[in-house]
């Protein structure tokens, strides 16, 4: 809770400093663009966050975005599929990728980091090969109906559609993570998978679910990306997105140790990340420094979080000394005769 308050405050400070930057920063258009970007990046941070909470990690998000965008463009142009079908197929690609990750990690016990690092290379290569290693354009564009509906319109209170989509998905995710049995299992698995398995819960299933959710959200990002740009560059589109996704989740309070994190936190983390980028622009900081600013903010957050955790740990240990410390030692017992 304190963590949430902390990052919430940080977000407000950032927003405040944006408002005083200049006229352009205060404009409705800047807000709209900011909201649109938060909506998009929030999707992948949400996927990455849920996975991180369950104790996993996905480094392939950017490549999945690239591959799914490529698949979507190919289906719409070369194959002439209907938009709805093509989008469903694209989501299916994400689903299959997530399932493969999940199965290999749970059943073959490939380390998640290694598995998805391999994925990062594999899907990027696949996307380039499918597209003949060249940029592809949608030509006459995404069918206006879908684009208006999903991308351009300010259907709800003038908000960018991607932000509305994010808020809806985040709402569902919040109920899932914080109120449902499955979410409880997911975060418990992140903390101590063995204890959950020993409680008779099919842990592998929930871990696979987390991988699938992460990749499907990445594929969905790919769809929104195509709507926005009307084209795809398979060799570069989506590059580094996994890092943004993970950074957003971590800034939002997800611990890479697993078991920790909230949906609201992930949203705030994403917003902070986007605000930082926007601030660099609006304050006239050389844009070359954008990554450095983001990296610095992330590092600061990590250091603060760790000292907060230590402080809490010390207090907790102190409060229970004798009892608990002894306890910890006893746990190391091995079997005596």
């Amino acid at each position: 809770m304190r963590k949430l308050a902390g990052i919430g405050l940080f977000l407000l400070v950032l927003y405040g400093s944006l408002l005083i930057a200049n006229e352009g920063a205060r404009s409705a258009e800047n807000h709209y663009n900011l909201g649109r970007d938060i909506g998009k990046y929030g999707l992948i941070s949400l996927g990455a966050g849920l996975l991180i909470i369950s104790g996993g990690i996905d480094l392939s998000i950017g490549s999945v975005v690239g591959l799914s965008a490529t698949v979507l463009v190919i289906l719409l142009t070369e194959k002439g599929w209907s938009p709805l079908l093509a989008m469903l197929a694209t989501l299916l690609v994400g689903c299959v990728i997530g399932l493969v990750h999940g199965v290999l990690v749970t059943k073959l016990r490939v380390q998640a980091f290694v598995m998805t690092l391999c994925g990062l290379f594999i899907y990027r290569g696949l996307a380039r090969w499918l597209a003949g290693d060249k940029a592809m354009s949608l030509g006459r564009g995404f069918p206006a109906f879908w684009r208006d509906w999903l991308y351009r319109s300010r259907a709800v209170f003038g908000l960018p559609m991607s932000l509305v989509i994010l808020l809806v998905i985040a709402g569902v995710a919040a109920v899932f993570l914080h109120r449902s049995v499955y979410g409880r299992y997911l975060s418990a698995i992140g903390s101590n998978e063995r204890a959950v398995r020993y409680s008779g819960i099919a842990t592998d299933r929930y871990k696979m679910l987390a991988y699938v959710l992460c990749s499907v959200l990445a594929a969905f990002y790919g769809i929104l990306f195509v709507m926005e740009t009307n084209q795809v560059q398979p060799s570069s589109d989506g590059n580094f997105l996994e890092l943004y996704a993970i950074a957003g989740a971590v800034l939002g309070g997800c611990s890479l140790r697993g078991g920790e994190g909230t949906v609201v936190g992930i949203l705030i983390g994403t917003a902070i990340l986007q605000l930082l980028g926007n601030l660099v622009l609006m304050w006239g900081i050389p844009s070359a420094l954008e990554y450095t600013v983001i990296g610095g903010a992330l590092l600061l957050g990590a250091i603060l979080d760790e000292s907060l955790r230590r402080g809490e740990g010390r207090r907790a240990r102190g409060a229970k000394e004798g009892e608990k410390e002894k306890q910890e030692e006893e746990q190391k017992d091995h079997k005596p005769a």
Partner: protein, 514 residues
């Protein structure tokens, strides 16, 4: 090693003395004016329940932890311990219960870690002398492995001896041992005691912390009992007895420590569990057959590595047997996962509650309801008031001492944590409950409650398979004892024939005892 600080002018009556030592942590007074004095060449045992302050006191004496008030005197001179290094220089060495060995190094490398004789100038090569230097120490301890053997390949018991060897190589005058036998076999324990007696003759003083009162009876010259951070009493050599220690530890008589109200089934009751020629995937893989009736508490005894936990894990679906059959209530079952085991009414209280039983960072509530969330949820959504009510009810039934069910479970005492793990299964009625070391690291009061619960469950017809290395508990609780040795069933002892000797005889590979 005997103290080499010979020729001290006027020897103080005590080598090491703690006077009115206090230490507070936020919310708890860990030590309140505790006194303790250690003579030269004496083994002084410090006993007490979990949370009594033993570990804190030892850490203060070893320079790990600072004190708020009070004095520590060495040779009658007040001591300001600045840290572990300084304490070690003065000859006070704490051997932690947890092993602090560098697994990638060999035995000698560990003994001299940080103090290696060097050669080769700036290259800092480790001098091979350490192997020759290590030899006499390891021999003295009866550590039957070469100084060049990698530590990772040693048994836990041997690793413990390496820790002790390290302490001895420091020329210590006071050796503080925190539960040194918790991972040793009986034979290794006996050898350790020989070593301690030998060291004692050489003038070394030992502070010995243990939960195993039997061992304290055997090795201690004097016993200091702590309770709730205070001195609860002291027992001279001729006063040391199990009962006396327990009385001081809990501050009351523990009558009927092992209370048995359940009546084990007599005659031809069909078994709840029947295991036929089950071959485990460990050890020699010899077939195991036995059966267990409802309302019966059967104990699996044996040494480390005898295959007891593996048998439990196989029955709970965590391991696959090589072959053989398991019958529950007469029907053959294949248990492929814990979920299936639970569906069959087979529950496990795992050996290591922290790594296998609890989600430590989560609340008491989340832990006790983890296995039965379906009962308090609809359409996959948890109903918070119902979950809370269930958690409260379970905690009450098991007498879990916690200020609130929202408390983080990792902050509870060992006994209460264990009750939380047990509570998890109480929402259902187990047919077969397997408990693996149910009272390890649990204080006396909680032990009694756990025994009481097992007794109640047996009374309700649950078959209980208890794995225990605590012979007292084995003798106190079992209706029958199955002894395992090297992956096979070495024998069976009915309650009438139970004795420590009979169990140990079978456990160490002797023939059939009954």
């Amino acid at each position: 090693m005997a103290a080499e600080h010979s020729g001290e002018a006027t020897p103080a009556p005590y080598l090491l003395e703690a006077r009115d030592v206090s230490r507070a942590f936020p919310g708890v007074q860990a030590l309140d004016r505790v006194r303790l004095s250690l003579r030269r060449g004496e083994v002084l045992a410090v006993v007490g329940e979990n949370g009594a302050g033993k570990s804190t006191l030892m850490k203060i004496l070893a320079g790990v932890e600072r004190l708020d008030s009070g004095t520590v005197l060495l040779d009658g001179r007040p001591l300001r311990l600045g840290g572990v290094q300084e304490a070690q220089r003065l000859g006070i060495v704490l051997i932690h219960q947890e092993l602090n060995l560098a697994e990638n190094l060999d035995v000698a490398g560990n003994i001299f870690l940080g103090r290696e004789p060097r050669r080769g100038g700036f290259l800092g090569l480790v001098d091979k002398r350490i192997y020759a230097d290590a030899e006499p120490i390891t021999r003295r301890l009866g550590l039957d492995s070469s100084p060049r053997a990698p530590v990772a390949g040693l048994s836990i018991g041997q690793q413990q001896l390496v820790e002790i060897a390290r302490a001895l190589s420091l020329d210590s005058r006071v050796l503080i041992m925190d539960e040194p036998t918790s991972s040793l076999t009986q034979r290794e324990t006996d050898r350790l005691f020989d070593v301690i007696r030998d060291l004692k003759r050489g003038g070394l003083s030992v502070l010995y912390i243990s939960h195993r009162l039997k061992e304290v009876e055997e090795i201690a010259d004097r016993v200091v009992v702590l309770r709730d951070g205070r001195n609860a009493g002291e027992l001279q050599h001729d006063q040391i007895s199990h009962e006396a220690m327990v009385r001081l530890m809990v501050g009351r008589e523990l009558k009927q420590f092992f209370r048995r109200t359940h009546v084990p089934p007599a005659g031809n009751v069909p078994p709840v569990l029947r295991v036929e020629r089950l071959r485990l995937d460990v050890g020699t893989g010899q077939p195991i057959s036995f059966s267990l009736r409802g309302g019966e508490i059967v104990c699996l005894a044996g040494l480390i590595g005898a295959g007891r936990s593996e048998l439990a894990e196989t029955l709970f679906g965590l391991r696959r047997p090589l072959s053989g059959e398991v019958f529950l209530d007469g029907r053959p079952v294949r248990v492929g996962s814990p979920a299936e085991a639970i569906a069959h009414g087979v529950f496990l209280l795992p050996e290591d509650r922290r790594s296998q039983g609890l989600v430590l960072e989560a609340s008491v509530k989340a832990n006790v309801t983890l296995a039965s969330l379906q009962r308090v949820s609809r359409l996959g959504l948890i109903n918070p008031p119902r979950e809370r009510a269930l958690a409260r009810d379970l905690c009450q039934r098991l007498n879990v001492h916690t200020p609130s069910v929202d408390k983080t479970v990792g902050l509870l005492s060992g006994g209460n944590q264990q009750k939380v793990v047990l509570a998890k299964w109480l929402t259902r009625s187990p047919r077969l409950l397997i408990v693996d070391e149910p009272t390890r690291g649990v204080d006396v009061g909680a032990k009694t409650e756990i025994y009481g619960l097992m007794d109640r469950l047996a009374g309700q017809g649950t078959a209980i398979l208890m794995i225990s290395s605590d012979l007292e508990e084995v003798l106190g609780m079992s209706d029958r004892v199955l002894v395992m040795h090297e992956g096979r069933l070495a024998g069976e002892l009915p309650r009438e024939d139970l004795s420590e000797e009979a169990v140990m005889h079978l456990a160490t590979g002797g023939g059939h005892g009954s």
